[in-house]
C-alpha cells in the first residue's frame, strides 16, 4: 500500500511535491494503523531497537522514541558509541530497525524494500556529512544535480534548480569548480545545496562542522539556520555542545537510550 504512494511520489518533484506529499501523508494516516494517532511529526521513531551481531550481539539502540515535527531544528548529542550514528542511519533510511517503527513523512521504512528505501533517501531526505562527500569527478553544479538525476528530473529543470540553490548558498560564481578546487567551507555549502535539491522532508546533518575551522563552522551553522528559517526540518548530530546549541532543542543520547531533552530557550 505504502509502496504505491512512494512510486507516485517519485514521479513528482519541485513545487508540487510538498503539496502532494502532504496530501499523501494525510491519506496514509487514514489508511495505516501506526499513523492512527495523527500529529504533525515528519519523523517518528517508536520503541526503536537496533542490534548488530559483531561476534556477540551489540545493542546500539534500545527502545528509543523520537518525534520531530515539521519545521523543527533538533540536535542529537552524545559521546561516541552512544548510538547517535545508528539513529541517523535509521532516520536516513540507510538502515532498518531490529524492532520498532521508523516512520518518515508517514512511511514506515522498516516495511520497505531496498529500492524503495533508496527512493525515500532520494526524495525525502537530504544528507550533509562531516567529510562533505561530494562526487570528486563532478563539478559543483553536477554534484547538486545528481540527486535530481536519480529522481528523474529533466536536464533543464535540474540545472535551473542546482543553480538557484548554489546561488542561495553563496556559490553562484563557483558552479563549474571541481570539489578539489573548493575550500572545505565551500564544499560543505555545495553539500548543503545538494541536500536541499529534492526539497526533502528532513535534512540530516552529521557533524557538519567537524572538518572545518571554527570560523567556517560558524558560516555553515548560519547557513543551516537560514535553511531552517526557510521552513526545512533539520536534524543535527554532533558531540559539540557549542554546535548543538544552534538547534531549538537538544536530544541527549547515551548507551543506546534517549536521555533528557533540552530546550534552547530564545536561541534560534
Amino acid at each position: 500500500m505504502t509502496h504505491k504512494y512512494l512510486n507516485f511520489l517519485n514521479m513528482l518533484d519541485g513545487d508540487g511535491l510538498w503539496y502532494y506529499r502532504t496530501l499523501i501523508r494525510l491519506q496514509l494516516q487514514e489508511l495505516s494503523m501506526e499513523s492512527a494517532t495523527a500529529d504533525d511529526s515528519i519523523v517518528r521513531l517508536t520503541d526503536v531497537e537496533k542490534e548488530y551481531s559483531l561476534g556477540g550481539t551489540v545493542t546500539a539502540l534500545d527502545g528509543v522514541g523520537l518525534s520531530l515535527s515539521e519545521g523543527s531544528y533538533t540536535a542529537v548529542m552524545g559521546p561516541s558509541g552512544s548510538g547517535k550514528s545508528t539513529l541517523l542511519n535509521l532516520i536516513g533510511a540507510l538502515d532498518t530497525p531490529t524492532a520498532g517503527q521508523v516512520s518518515i513523512d508517514g512511511t514506515d521504512i522498516a516495511g520497505l524494500s531496498e529500492t524503495e528505501r533508496a527512493k525515500v533517501r532520494g526524495t525525502m531526505i537530504g544528507f550533509v556529512f562531516q567529510t562533505f562527500n561530494l562526487m570528486p569527478r563532478l563539478n559543483a553544479r553536477e554534484n547538486v544535480e545528481l540527486p535530481l538525476v536519480f529522481a528523474g528530473w529533466d536536464t533543464n529543470r535540474r540545472t535551473e534548480r542546482a543553480e538557484s540553490l548554489l546561488d542561495r548558498v553563496g556559490l553562484g560564481n563557483r558552479m563549474d569548480h571541481m570539489p578539489q578546487e573548493l575550500s572545505g567551507g565551500q564544499r560543505q555549502r555545495v553539500a548543503i545545496a545538494r541536500a536541499l535539491a529534492t526539497d526533502p522532508a528532513i535534512v540530516l546533518a552529521d557533524e557538519p562542522t567537524g572538518n572545518v575551522d571554527t570560523e567556517t563552522g560558524d558560516e555553515i551553522m548560519s547557513l543551516l539556520a537560514d535553511t531552517h528559517d526557510r521552513g526545512n526540518t533539520i536534524l543535527l548530530v554532533t558531540h559539540e555542545r557549542r554546535i548543538a546549541e544552534h538547534a531549538d532543542s537538544i536530544v541527549h543520547v547515551r548507551d543506546g537510550r534517549r536521555e533528557d531533552t533540552e530546550m534552547i530557550g530564545g536561541a534560534r
Binding site: G122, R137, L138, V149, F150
Partner: protein
C-alpha cells in the same frame, strides 16, 4: 535515471583514469584489430582473385600436369616438381572432340636466350606459346597472331617495359639458338588459359605454338613425336562445365597419352574454375578461422582485463557508491552505471581496434597487390563483440558495486 546521464557519469569515470583505461582496453583493441585485419585482408583477396576468376573464366576447365591449383602442391603455372609436358597434340585433339567443349587452348613455355627491341635488351626467360583462340577476346589493339608465322602478341606490361613503347607493327628480336625477328601484331590484356595468381601480370610475350613450341613427346596412341604441353585450358559451352569436367576426367584417366606418359609417379589434374575458386576460398577460410581464433583469445584476455580493472574500480569508488546510494541511487542504477562503464571500455576497444585492423588489412592488401575491400559484416560483428565483452566483463564487478552497504561505504576512506 536517464541512461544518457549514466553514460555521462561512466565517461567521467573512464576519463578520470586515462592511462589505466587505455591499458585496460589494449587487449580488446589487439583482439578486434587482429580479427578485423585478417577479415579485411581475406575479403580483399577473395574479392580480387576469386572475383577475377568468376568474371572471366567461369566456363573453363584446366587440365594440368601435376597436382593442380590450391590442392596442396606447386604454383599454378607449371613450376611444380611433378609438372611435366605430357599432354600431347593427340590428347588436345581428343579433348577438342569431347561433348560440350567449345575450344581447347594449349599453353607452353618457349625458353629463350635474349629478347631485344631496338637497342634495348630485357631479361625474359621465356615466351608463352599458345593458340590464337586464347587471344580472341582479349585484344586491346591489333589482332591475335596467326599459326605458322613469326608474329607475336604482347601484353601491356611487356609493351611498357621498354624505354620506347612497343606498338603494333614494331619488330622484336628474339634469340634462341639464332636470332629471329618477330612482328608485333597485337597488344592483349592477357591471354586466356593462364592461371595468373595474385596481383597484376608481369610482361608476357605470346607466340603461336606452331612453329615455336618445340617440346615434344612420342605419343603412345599414334606412335609419332608430337608437341606436348604441361597445361591445357578447355573452354566449355555455357552450362556444360561440370559435364565437360567429368568427361575430360574420364578420358584422361582411361585412354590419354598424358596419363601413360606421366607414368606411375605422375598425376594429371582436371579442375574447373569452380574447383580453383573453391580451393582458394577454403584456404582463405582456414586462415581466417585460425586468426579469428587467436583474436578471440586476445578478446578473452581483454575481457579478464576489463573485469579485473572494474573490480579495482569498484573498490576504489566504494565511497562514491555510498554517496550515490545516500542521495537516492537504487542498486539497479548503481549496477547499470558500472555496466555502462565496462561496456564503454569494450566499445572504446572496438572503436579503436576496428580502424586499426582495417589499416593493417589495407597495408596487407597493398602489399599483396589486391584491391582493398572492407568486410562490413566483420566490422559490425567486431563492434557487437566489443559491447558484449564489455557488458559480460562488467556484470560481476557491477553486481558487487550494487551490493555495497551504503553505511559501510560512507565510512570507507
Amino acid at each position: 535515471m536517464d541512461w544518457r546521464e549514466g553514460v555521462r557519469i561512466a565517461v567521467r569515470a573512464i576519463a578520470g583514469h586515462r592511462l589505466r583505461s587505455a591499458l585496460t582496453i589494449a587487449g580488446i583493441v589487439i583482439g578486434i584489430a587482429t580479427v578485423v585485419a585478417f577479415a579485411s585482408f581475406g575479403a580483399s583477396v577473395q574479392t580480387d582473385v576469386v572475383g577475377e576468376f568468376q568474371d572471366t573464366s567461369a566456363s573453363e576447365v584446366y587440365v594440368i600436369s601435376g597436382s593442380g591449383v590450391f590442392s596442396g602442391a606447386g604454383p599454378p603455372d607449371g613450376g611444380g616438381t611433378l609438372t611435366a609436358p605430357v599432354i600431347t597434340t593427340h590428347d588436345v585433339d581428343r579433348i577438342d572432340r569431347v561433348e560440350g567443349v567449345q575450344a581447347v587452348i594449349p599453353r607452353g613455355t618457349v625458353p629463350i636466350a635474349s629478347l631485344a627491341y631496338g637497342n634495348e635488351t630485357v631479361s625474359q626467360v621465356g615466351l608463352t606459346a599458345t593458340t590464337p583462340n586464347a587471344l580472341e577476346d582479349a585484344m586491346i589493339e591489333g589482332r591475335p597472331f596467326e599459326m605458322g608465322t613469326n608474329e607475336i602478341v604482347i601484353n601491356e606490361a611487356a609493351a611498357g617495359q621498354f624505354e620506347e613503347n612497343v606498338t603494333v607493327g614494331s619488330t622484336i628480336e628474339i634469340t634462341r639458338q639464332e636470332a629471329t625477328s618477330f612482328t608485333v601484331v597485337g597488344i592483349t590484356s592477357g591471354a586466356r588459359g593462364g592461371l595468373s595468381g595474385f596481383g597484376p601480370a608481369g610482361p608476357e610475350f605470346y607466340v603461336p605454338v606452331d612453329p615455336h613450341y618445340q617440346t615434344a613427346q612420342r605419343s603412345p596412341s599414334v606412335g609419332v613425336d608430337q608437341r606436348a604441353y604441361a597445361q591445357v585450358t578447355v573452354v566449355a559451352e555455357a552450362g556444360q562445365v561440370r559435364g565437360v569436367n567429368d568427361r575430360i576426367g574420364t578420358y584422361i584417366n582411361t585412354e590419354s597419352d598424358a596419363t601413360r606418359l606421366a607414368g606411375e609417379n605422375g598425376n594429371i589434374t582436371v579442375q574447373s574454375t569452380e574447383d580453383v575458386v573453391g580451393g582458394i576460398e577454403d584456404v582463405l577460410e582456414d586462415i581466417t578461422r585460425l586468426v579469428t581464433g587467436i583474436g578471440v583469445l586476445a578478446l578473452l584476455v581483454g575481457a579478464f582485463g576489463i573485469a579485473n580493472i572494474m573490480l579495482v574500480s569498484v573498490t576504489e569508488r566504494t565511497k562514491e557508491i555510498g554517496i550515490m546510494k545516500s542521495i537516492g541511487a537504487t542498486n539497479r542504477e548503481i549496477l547499470s552505471l558500472f555496466i555502462s562503464e565496462s561496456a564503454l571500455l569494450g566499445i572504446a576497444g572496438a572503436v579503436i581496434g576496428i580502424p586499426l585492423g582495417l589499416a593493417v588489412g589495407y597495408g596487407g592488401a597493398v602489399y599483396a597487390d589486391v584491391g582493398f575491400a572492407i568486410p562490413v559484416d566483420w566490422v559490425a560483428l567486431a563492434l557487437v563483440m566489443g559491447i558484449v565483452i564489455g557488458v559480460v566483463a562488467g556484470v560481476y564487478p557491477a553486481w558487487r558495486a550494487a551490493r555495497v552497504d551504503p553505511i559501510e561505504a560512507l565510512r570507507y576512506e
